[in-house]
Amino acid sequence: MTSDTLHSNPDALGLSRRVLSGLRALNIVYGVGVGIMLIASLVAPDILFGAIGVRATGWETATLSMRGIMIVGIAGAFIAHRILTGLLSIVESVRVGDPFVIDNAAHLNAIAWWLLVAELLHLLVGALARLASTPEQPFDIGWSFSFTPWIAVLLLFVLARVFAYGARMREDIEGTV
């Protein structure tokens, strides 16, 4: 990798900012959509569950689990919003030309925690889907376990520490006469 490729490319930064902003907007739409589905599941369960092929005969395990998944979905949207906002702040600081600051280490650390919570919610969704599924009415949301996100969480925590150390070193260098 040459030093040129390491230098921030204004086009790439602008694109990243636009992509992140777009994803954040889509995520808000997703969160609102799941929220509407949750309300519909309470107000008009027959219509909603009928549309997705579930026989809603009352407060049975399947419908309760699906409502649980919707609540987790809303929480997931909130987490994704926090992660994307943190990433946007980091990208913005790169654009301004001052990314090696303690604030960005804090952003990375917060992203790592939010990702950890998201993975725990992912496990919860898996458990709820398993609970909702019956031999008569199989419920498959394509859930699967993967180690990759857990490694990403670990990596983010390490990166946040490295970033914090680097920012402190930079502060020291800046204060050296």
């Binding site: 502060e171 020291d172 204060g175 050296t176 006469v177």
Partner: protein
Amino acid sequence: MAINVKLDDLLYARRMTLTELSEKVDITLANLSILKTGKARAVRFSTLEAICRALDCQPGDLLQFVEE
């Protein structure tokens, strides 16, 4: 800060301005100002050497430990 920089006193004693010192030691006025006001986090040996040479003093004349 526990380390007191006595650059002001030395400059007064030598009848020298910070700008003149800056030109002599080839260190920016901004950096010398940081040092003078005690805002510096560290001082390079090369900086210390240049200032001591320009002001004809010892490092001990420039820095003073003060119990907080």
